[in-house]
Amino acid sequence: DAGVTQSPTHLIKTRGQQVTLRCSPKSGHDTVSWYQQALGQGPQFIFQYYEEEERQRGNFPDRFSGHQFPNYSSELNVNALLLGDSALYLCASSSISGRRMGEQFFGPGTRLTVL
């Protein structure tokens, strides 16, 4: 049983560019959440997708957008990259829907560096 997978593992971009990160949830899970973790900090919630729609959003600008596909996989897009967007981007999946959050299974993350 594959856990949560993310691609790519590492990514280097320059300011102003756009990036797309991908996530496949754990088998049987239908909900995907994205988090940004800056070095030495705790993960910060970006948004969550369920049934191909954004359910809730954290305090992130519109440059951060996402998508969920019918197979429950998800993408995170970041436009007009800033140096401060350099971080580990974590995807987490769960099977909770319409209820309070339960256990989240995290992927290994994508390390984004913006130069």
């Binding site: 705790g42 993960p43 910060q44 809730q56 954290g58 987490a92 309070r100 959050m101 989240q104």
Partner: protein, 109 residues
């Protein structure tokens, strides 16, 4: 917004010593989760506490939820080098998680 603070921020212990991290919320929590993140790794779920005053044990780990459901603690007895990592308490919202500031544990062999 949700504020979850943890103390201490860092803790160095000798292998075999005990370790405790404390978590405090500015608001009453419906429940609280704990995650562990190894250096270079991703957060891994440890446990969820729901009831006021709840105490749960996992081998050498003891988790407690305060009576007022505003604080929680994680206690590790007789630490081992495998306990190294950052421990996060996490407040759960309807559709998201609010991670605490974390306590980074270093175990000296």
């Amino acid at each position: 917004g949700q504020q979850v603070m943890q103390i201490p921020q860092y803790q160095h212990v000798q292998e075999g010593e005990d370790f405790t991290t404390y978590c405090n919320s500015s608001t009453t929590l419906s429940n609280i989760q704990w995650y562990k993140q190894r250096p270079g790794g991703h957060p891994v779920f440890l446990i969820q506490l729901v009831k006021s005053g709840e105490v749960k044990k996992q081998k050498r780990l003891t988790f407690q939820f305060g009576e007022a459901k505003k604080n929680s603690s994680l206690h590790i007895t007789a630490t081992q080098t495998t306990d190294v990592g950052t421990y996060f308490c996490v407040a759960t919202g309807a559709n998201n998680l609010f991670f605490g500031t974390g306590t980074r544990l270093t175990v000296i062999p």
